[in-house]
Point group: C2
Chain length 336, copies 2
């Protein structure tokens, strides 16, 4: 009974945009294990998270279509027979969004509208689960942050992700479609991009620990975050996709317990048995878009679908370290 | 002393995007009267509000540059020496945004980012006043709506206007620029587009009254709105442009007193001495994006800059009716 939502995916026709990326590929593998009919769509833009190695061993159990959510004609065809669409494609670097805001707009707004238009005109019955982000809240006015908190993003990536989320809710409301958004906090785990440090610090820190390098923490490391392990996010996606109770909603999906950067890095170094830490001053351009402590309240989502995060920081970090230790060359700039 | 902010514009180099449109042209004329150095930029997209007749009599006192905010190279040049930029260009039809969301995105998001990028790279000192909208709030959870109310737009136009507003606040915060947004409610008055009814009902109702036609009100007309006359909005723009106290903020600019559609139409018919009213059922596609009663609380903006709306509904409607009666042919589909 507790796993009815997993059983529900057997033979289900699903599509995952950004399906060769971090969360997408973990979700794709899980869905293949549940015997779903999985279509992975990914643009494999260099410098982004898509990586064919992420589906190693699953090549014959998934269908991969290299394609871009900005391409209307491709999306019009691909969405046609899909019952659930996990919409995870996106530009995810805050930093890149500030140096090149127009590319962020194209991918995170135009791409999302293009996918939604494809569904509106060719498959209104699909259930769409959008990967939102806690970034839409910006600097929190209070902690923990629940969904009544104002949306006030502090960078262009956050603005565009907020818009994309809203598109989903508007299409749900106006066109009788079924869509929801999960506002994910800091997600970590195997298959994350770690070849550069512009897509969040946690993957980068894990790489440095695995390589025995020096981890630089800005300021005194006292800021709190609620990290969530990728398997817990995959579980959240599966639950959201299999139910209609969260349609038209944007709900927080965060970690169980907030932890400071300082404590997280100490734990990481302990688990990895390597790496070191140095506290450095904030770079000015990063300070400008930093939000201080942040952790979210996921009560609404938990109550709606019965989800809760199950993987501890220690376990999650160990699984991450083990994974990258085994497969590091595939995640470096020029993959082996 | 009370008019120091108006005096401040003498010789000031200002730019108005969408400056041949409804609010833009009223603002341009006022600024010319204040002896500002006025650059009007407008794309004159057919079907939108730009209309050369809107600056009739002022041609020699303004500089008009036909150009589109989506055109980076043009904006890079035009912004260079401007001290205040009133950024009013936009696609404003809710209806059009639902039939063609990608065009709305291009104009309201990409165009705005393009203008901001031009300022970031070529004129960081400019003060930018963005024409936001109460649409960003969507269906109100409580009345009156103040700035603590969640942003939950119910149509694509509202989503994109919310994103564009946020871009301004992010550029203010991150790049040390100076920008604010005024969330305007239902604005009416001379020089509004009335050649079709897809840009809000009030202009369309005024046209029908002037033509002695039948005004169709959806439902029972009991919904409340706070209408604000365009001269009051022009005054709000002038105050916001001349001060730094509202930088980085998005503030409501609404009418003094809410009034029902029913009462407004009755007043309009009385003032015009013509036209009739008929109550009809809601068309389904309009009902889907309707928000019920809405009126805003402009206390924060009023306190910050000393603004309050001064033109009564009766006076505003009379001035509107008189204007269109005198100049109607210039506002029809094939202008004389």
């Amino acid at each position: 009974m507790t796993d009815a939502y997993r059983e529900w995916y057997r033979g289900r026709r699903v599509m995952i945009t950004g399906g060769l990326g971090f969360i997408g590929s973990n979700l794709a593998r899980e869905l293949a294990d549940l015997d779903a009919d999985v279509l992975v769509v990914d643009s494999l833009v260099p410098d982004y998270g898509g990586n064919l190695f992420n589906i190693a061993g699953y090549e014959s159990r998934l269908r991969v279509n290299v394609g871009d959510v900005r391409q209307q004609t491709a999306m019009d065809v691909l969405v046609r027979d899909r019952e659930v669409i996990f919409n995870l494609a996106g530009q995810v670097s805050h930093i890149d969004s500030m140096t090149d805001p127009l590319t962020d707009l194209e991918i995170n707004c135009r791409g999302q509208l293009t996918l939604l238009e494809a569904c509106r005109h060719h498959n209104r019955d699909a259930k769409i689960v959008y990967a939102g982000t806690r970034q839409v809240y910006g600097k929190p006015a209070r902690l923990p942050v629940d969904e009544r908190h104002l949306v006030r993003p502090t960078d262009i990536n956050g603005v565009n992700k907020a818009a994309a989320e809203s598109y989903h809710l508007v299409y749900d409301q106006v066109f009788g479609m079924r869509a929801c958004s999960l506002r994910l906090t800091n997600v970590y785990g195997p298959r994350q991009l770690i070849k550069h440090n512009r897509q969040g610090f946690i993957g980068w820190f894990i790489r440095l620990a695995v390589e025995g390098g020096e981890i630089q923490v800005y300021g005194d490391g006292s800021q709190l975050r609620d990290f969530v392990f990728v398997d817990d996010v995959v579980d959240a996606c599966l639950r959201a996709g299999a139910t209609d109770v969260v349609n038209g909603e944007a709900l927080n999906v965060g970690g169980a317990q907030p932890i400071s950067h300082r404590d997280l890095v100490q734990l990481l170094i302990k688990v990895a048995g390597g790496g070191s830490v140095r506290y450095v001053d904030w770079p000015q351009e990063k300070k400008a878009i930093d939000i201080g402590s942040f952790y979210s309240d996921s009560t609404r989502f938990s109550r709606a679908v019965g989800w809760s995060p199950r993987v501890s920081h220690e376990d999650g970090l160990r699984r991450s370290v083990d994974y990258y230790r085994a497969h590091l060359p595939h995640y470096l700039e020029n993959p082996a």
